[in-house]
Amino acid sequence: MVENFEPNIVVFACNWCSYAGMDLAGTSRIQYPHNLKVIRVMCSGRINPVYILEAFANGADGVLVTGCHPGDCHYISGNYKTRKRIILLERLLEQFGIEKERLRLEWVSASEGEKFANIAKEFVEQIRKLGPNHIAKELRKEVAVV
């Protein structure tokens, strides 16, 4: 474990449930770690796997994807697609040499502010244990001189 390592975490949050859940955590004054960089998207199904790969390639230590609970998707089936994508993406990340624990999918509804705060704490701790993601640095070295 690296001393003083502060994980850099990207969170994708769906507009209808999870972002509102995070908002609730804030308005309820529930503390959660500051390591999260939240990106709001209209639906978890809108999260292109490219975004997640790009996040890791650009130095994210962890990526947390949040969406509506199964059955609750504002667009009916977006989160079902996400669920499948994330499972396959975890497999792909492992093949690329990135620990699959760095990617996590969680369902957070608009009323689950506390749940979100707990997930955030837990995930940040998990990434802290895993240590920094070295790939971004090595990738930058690889990038040609063109």
Binding site: A57, R83, K84, R85, I87, Q95, F96, I98, V146
Partner: protein, 325 residues
């Protein structure tokens, strides 16, 4: 000499791209009559010195074939750039790294050890591995040395045009050569190919069905009319640039992705991962447990090898990281 100069310079290639030129048939004679060949080791008896002697920027059209995988091909790529007025990355390997790019799943040392020591058919008791420089009886011998990672041409030098495919489709080769010879080349950076996916060229019938089982190609004789993907065979069509007239699906063979990512998408594998996740599944997934979904989707055994077959070096991750073997 008023004829335009043409050079075909090989990198890490298999010469399959040369065959696609020969596939032009009688037209190839027209092409050869219309140009002055400056270098083409597969077909013309010109030496590297002949190419080096030419002034920089004096070759109107250079087709670079193959990936860049060692210091020799890297040198050739730089030479191609220096001599070329217009440089075309010719074929999937030059465009995206191609099949040689799959070497990026392993390390340089791992590949050499596997090939020269560990493979079952090899007897190499001293454990000799090729190295850059060998001294023997006062003579110094050098051979090209592997790069740490295989690269596409545009990761080494600036590239003017891309002509993907393995091998490049005849129609596109003709289009590119005609454009170049008539001086009507499109804006730099153009990829010769369609602006749509292979599925748009494909005549098969798509019923928007979900699949629950992924089948290997040898496990069934596919229905010649219906979409291969919807019959359970992984077909890279949705994630692959068209322009090849979907030749493979037309003859019942799934697309393998040699035309590279669809326009506007950076990463062929990520695109395919999305497409696959939409096609595989149950009609209604409400109440289906995570475990069941996991079983369903993890029927894809090797997403990296399947989705990035031709484009690993050009993908966002570029290679597998932290490999020891």
């Amino acid at each position: 000499m008023n004829k335009p100069r043409l050079a075909i310079i090989p990198g890490a290639n298999c010469a399959g791209c040369d065959y696609s030129l020969l596939d032009l048939g009688e037209k190839v004679i027209e092409v050869l009559m219309a140009v002055d060949i400056a270098y083409w080791p597969t077909a013309a008896d010109l030496k590297l010195e002949d190419l080096e002697k030419l002034p920089d920027g004096s070759i109107d059209l250079v087709l670079f074939e193959g990936a860049v995988n060692n210091d020799e091909t890297e040198e050739m790529a730089k030479l191609a750039r220096r001599k070329a007025k217009n440089l075309i990355a010719f074929g999937a390997c030059a465009c995206f790294g191609g099949i040689p790019g799959l070497a990026n799943v392993a390390s340089k040392d791992g590949i050499l050890r596997k090939a020269y020591i560990k493979s079952l058919s090899t007897v190499n008791q001293q454990g000799t591995i090729p190295c850059k420089l060998t001294r023997l009886d006062g003579i110094e011998l050098t051979i090209p040395e592997f790069l740490e990672s295989v690269k596409s041409l545009d990761q080494v030098v600036n590239v003017d045009y891309y002509l993907p495919g393995c091998p490049p489709p005849l129609k596109l080769v003709a289009e590119a050569l005609t454009a170049a010879l008539s001086g009507k080349l499109p804006p730099k950076g153009t990829v010769f190919g369609s602006m749509k996916s292979v599925c748009d060229d494909c005549k098969r019938i798509r019923e928007d069905k979900k699949i629950t089982e992924i089948k290997r190609y040898h496990q069934l004789i596919p229905d010649p009319e219906r979409c291969l993907f919807e019959q359970g065979i992984i077909c890279m069509g949705p994630a692959t640039r068209g322009g090849c007239d979907a030749v493979c699906p037309t003859v019942n063979v799934p697309c393998r992705g040699c035309m590279g990512p669809t326009p506007g998408s950076q990463d062929q594998g990520a695109r395919m991962l999305s497409a696959l996740s939409s096609v595989i599944g149950l009609e209604v997934e409400t109440g289906v447990s995570d475990e069941e979904v996991r079983k369903l989707i993890l029927q894809v055994k090797d997403p990296l090898g399947t989705f990035y077959r031709y484009s690993l070096p050009k993908s966002i991750m570029r290679r597998v990281w932290g490999v020891r073997e």
